[in-house]
Symmetry: C2
Subunit: 667 residues, 2 copies
């Protein structure tokens, strides 16, 4: 029954495509634009190069998709590039990929949100002043949603991607059909001549080559997010690998069709888009503050009959929506990768177990904070943010393809079946070509983008790499220190147990702690109180004497209203007198339900407990008393972000026992 | 020996004066100015009223100081106004005073820092644009100092106050001596005619009265901080009350002399200071952005020979310093009052015990955050901030004087000794007059300042009042729930103890926990592991079988990598089967030294522990294993802010056992 339950939560291809592909597909919303922005530095002189650059991007897309179909088949566990590289090229190369991917997730949010906002502003130019606040608002919204544990799966999340595909395809088809009937679409910006930068329209030789390479590097943003399916194989229905590979191809074909269609129409409709509005001759408004509509917006407007047609708003809405959805995928992918890294002890271990929501929440908040900083610093400008983005993408592409080549080499070294060998050899050629091509692109991106901002991504990745190495080193050192050398020698049992029950007043939690301590029948048992307030101590002593409690009460002096020091001092004095005895300190606590109640109950017991833990030979025993308010704290369990991608089931395992928000105070 | 130690840390009068009086004495740096700012709305027409208003302030100062000498004698425990009012007028009136005082502490920081920065800018006008950042910087500096636990006492803290007194007295004497020789000082602003606001120079009747009252209310800022000595009586040497009363008088006389001197010289030197620089005719620079030098700066400049004389810089330096020091007193007074309120269960209990640094740190951070917000919102403008300040001061003055009247009434009701009765009757007259006078001032302040910002202080005080009442109510409810009705019935001892040792791997902490559990000889003992990772669970089972550990190992299933749920479920199943058994869960933990190490070690054990505390019939037993890094965590104890004022000793009680920074992880 449980595995059936699991099966139900796995994703059919029709749901997996939108969930994993919103990120790569949404990239086509800005890829064409980025190519044009580079080429128009030479006015309209070099726009004729666009088809060639687009062809390069399409070829690259085909190579990368084919290569990742191999990854999905060979590594179905969902580790993606990180797993491929770690297995085949060793842990350090794997860590480089991991660091790049972590940076990528951050940039996915920033770029997607910025582009989404750009498309909203293209529809409603009057709110262009609110660009940065809107972008920040979306990041806050996404993190709030993920902190509350909104599930990623389901139709609500699938619909925008399909609507986006439908809208863009409709636009492309309509555009070409209109052309057939002689109504060639004309973009609103076609009327403005483009002023070239510093005679860049006369570029030739090396200068022209560099321009092409820069345009190509910018166009490569179409490939961001392509690897996401390879991280989600466990979430697919069986046969997992085959379904994932099919979805991969479907995604690739859709992306290529949309990218080619948009690029072709942008050229046909003569979209003139520049990085600096002042280079558009006679552009209305103050060119220093006016932004240009996105390429998608210009096409939709020219094809669907102007800036106020219903279909224009529809295209802008679904484009913005799919981009925001793409940003959301990072909020799900980030904890997933963190969890795998934590399993390998490169990140704090608590990120591994699903149970710890705090860790996930911290991850989400960190992602949000970094993104808000980026969006504010770069004024939510897509082009500037993209410079930081693609370097990491191609680092992981290249390394994973090299890893795959090694994978096939290793397989071929032992495999004898000629059919398998043949298939492996074909795969090796594919991945070898992929490695060469993506490696070349990596070099191109490095050369053309480094000084434009990519250096910052490199610095961030290097810092992450160093941090993860350090964490692993620490965990290894602790494991070594804790390792058992001689089981017999290490298993010494204390000769006696000296039990102490800490008492502040004679209330129910105290009585329970006394009862539990007595049930243990320790060798020595005494109650201990710290004389913080003279009056209340005397009062306690009197009540104690009147009662028929058999346990003697010891009073510790504390001239300066301190609790911790006298108790720790007393425990140490016991250990000094009889070093082979273990001291068991019973602490009566009471458990409350609301977080604010927690703030009101004595934190100094928490401090005392942690101080006692530093003392060798001590056990710290919490005896809880549940206040009635503690039962009010029932709260349904939340899902951790990324659980859909991991193929984990929905809801609680045991619906009769909801998780509780837990806060404990002490008596 | 310990009491000798205590005696040494108590303050002689020569140190107590500067420590407690920096706040009231520094008020004279802005009191004269605030009177002038109000009167100059009528141009120079009403400056002739200044001596009368100043006389009112001096009379008020005499009354308040005399009244507080009574408080110091009757309530030597340092509770100050709060104690007087609570004892005599009941807890609700006491809470009103407490809320007012808490608001006051906040405003002391804001006003003093703003005025300090004002005096720095008067010396270096070129940095006037940095007013707000400088003010914020000082707040950050003060909180950092207090977070690090810098001691308040000592010569470094006493010197600025004496230097300030010396500087101001020197300036006043020099000014008058120069006058005797015919060189009457002339302020730099004397040359600018003051343009009255809307014909306010022709005010008469009620309008003129209101102007006088507003000027008087503003001048009353000279009294802020006067009560501080009454909160610090325990820090004085014996005879405490007498010494405190003497210091009180010395402070009052000094304050009056300085205030009168400054006010007289300001009139003689014709200091023209307006709330709006544009009302100074022909003032150089853009009047919208140029600020005027402080009254102190104008006097120092005119008396000591210009803006670049050494003595001018000296006066500005000591004035700024004493103001910053006054702000620091709030960082010490705030935790002190909080501690008393916590003792009365109006604030979280952890604020009461000195040991809890976290609580003090939170208080300091809260104080800093609120002040930064205020300084930014009010652009560090002294005058605007002062509107929020004096209402709270006079609320506590008035209520405490009424309380004192009640105190003497109560005493006179039983006292028969005629000498004592006579003295009490005289005291009653003093306090009765004080109550009437300060009550009148309270009404004046309320009328003249409410709409100018004082309403915000009222709102804050009301919120604090409500919060404190709520906290007290909660504590009372918990105490009632925990109270023992029937000692016999409540002291039930469990029939058996079922002990569980949680095991993840077979390392040293596990072996220690097993040994300790065995030493307790529980009725049932078993080791339990959660099968999170299949491989490692199998590995553990094999090792366990090989070893000669006598305790059986039970494996709990966990299909979703969760630890908490299976363990809690198992514990509950034991309780269901045998409700009279207590379940003891032993958790092996390891203790690390650095805070960052703490982040790396499994927080999920912390979560498990708090979840277990919700389960009735359970004991949670931490068995610590100290890693070598844990010994590196030695750190000397820090003093809590306000400890000097409380009369607590310096340093550690036991210098051989320094406090440690404690962080614990779990295995």
């Amino acid at each position: 029954m449980r595995s059936e339950e699991l099966g139900e939560t796995l994703l059919p291809k029709r749901l997996a495509l939108p969930i994993f592909a919103s990120d790569p597909l949404s990239s086509v919303a800005y890829a064409t634009e980025e190519i044009l922005l580079v080429l128009t530095v030479g006015g309209t002189a070099f726009l004729y190069l666009t088809p060639w650059i687009a062809a390069g991007v399409v070829l690259l897309m085909a190579v990368v998709v084919t290569s990742y179909r191999q990854v999905v088949r060979a590594y179905p566990s969902g580790g993606g590039s990180y797993e491929v590289v770690t297995t085949n090229l060793g842990p350090n190369a794997g860590l480089v990929v991991a660091a790049s991917l972590l940076v990528d997730y951050v940039m996915t949010v920033a770029v997607s949100v910025a582009s989404g906002v750009d498309n909203i502003i293209s529809a409603f130019p009057s709110i262009s002043a609110a660009r940065v606040p809107m972008a920040v608002g979306f990041v806050v919204l996404l993190s709030a949603m993920n902190l509350r544990g909104v599930r990623e799966a389901g139709r609500a999340f699938a619909a925008p991607t399909y609507l986006f595909i439908f809208g863009i395809v409709l636009m492309i088809v309509t555009g070409f059909v209109k052309m057939l009937f002689g109504h060639t679409p004309v973009a609103s910006s076609a009327q403005y001549a483009v002023i070239p930068v510093d005679h860049k329209d006369t570029l030739a030789g090396l200068g022209l080559l560099m321009l092409c390479l820069r345009a190509f590097a910018s166009g490569c943003t179409a490939l961001t997010g392509v690897e996401s399916i390879s991280n989600g194989v466990p979430a697919f229905r069986k046969p997992k690998s085959k379904n994932a590979a099919t979805t991969m191809s479907a995604m690739g074909i859709t992306a290529v069709l949309m990218f080619v269609g948009i690029t072709a129409l942008a050229l046909i409709a003569k979209v003139h888009k520049t990085d600096d509005t002042c280079r558009l001759a006679n552009y209305p408004g103050d060119c220093h503050t006016t932004s240009q509509p996105t390429v998608i917006a210009q096409l939709a407007s020219s094809i669907f009959g102007g800036d106020h047609s219903v279909l224009f708003y529809f295209i802008q809405a679904v484009t913005a929506l799919v981009l925001i959805l793409a940003a959301n995928t990072a909020f799900n992918g980030f904890p997933l990768l963190s969890s795998i890294l934590a399993q390998h002890r490169y990140l704090p271990r608590q990120l591994h177990t699903r149970g710890d929501r705090l860790a996930f929440s911290n991850g989400i908040i960190a992602l949000a904070v970094v993104n808000i900083a980026l969006l504010v610093a770069y004024k939510a400008d897509v082009t500037n943010l993209i410079h930081l983005y693609i370097l990491g993408v191609f680092t992981s592409f290249t390394l994973s393809q090299i890893g795959m080549v090694k994978h096939w080499n290793r397989l071929l070294a032992t495999e004898t079946d000629t059919k398998v060998r043949g298939s492996a050899k074909r795969s090796r050629i594919i991945n070898g070509f992929g490695a060469g091509f993506t490696g070349l692109v990596l070099v191109i991106v490095m050369i053309t983008k480094f000084t434009e901002g990519a250096w910052l991504a490199v610095v961030a990745a290097v810092l992450l790499f160093g941090m993860m190495r350090g964490i692993r080193k620490h965990y290894d050192a602790v494991a070594e220190e804790l390792a058992v050398e001689d089981l017999k020698a290490e298993s010494v049992r204390p000769s006696k147990v000296h039990a102490i029950v800490l008492v502040s007043t004679l209330h129910k939690p105290t009585l329970r702690a006394l009862g539990y301590a007595q049930a243990f029948r320790p060798d020595i048992l005494e109650a201990v109180t710290v004389a913080v307030e003279k009056d209340s101590t005397q009062d306690l002593q009197e009540k104690w004497a009147e009662s028929e409690i058999q346990v003697p009460l010891k009073v510790l002096d504390s001239p300066f209203r301190e609790i911790t020091k006298p108790v720790v001092g007393y425990v140490r004095s016991i250990r000094r007198t009889s070093p082979r005895e273990a001291v068991a300190v019973f602490i009566p606590e009471y458990v409350v339900g609301h977080w604010w109640e927690h703030l009101l109950h004595n934190q100094s017991a928490l401090w005392l407990k942690s101080r006692l833990l530093f003392t060798p030979g001590v056990m710290v025993i919490s005896v809880p008393w549940q206040l009635t308010s503690s039962t009010r704290a029932d709260r349904p369990a939340r899902r951790a972000p990324g659980s859909v991608r991991r193929g984990e089931p929905a809801g609680n395992l045991d619906p009769t026992e909801p998780e509780k928000a837990v806060h404990s105070g002490s008596a």
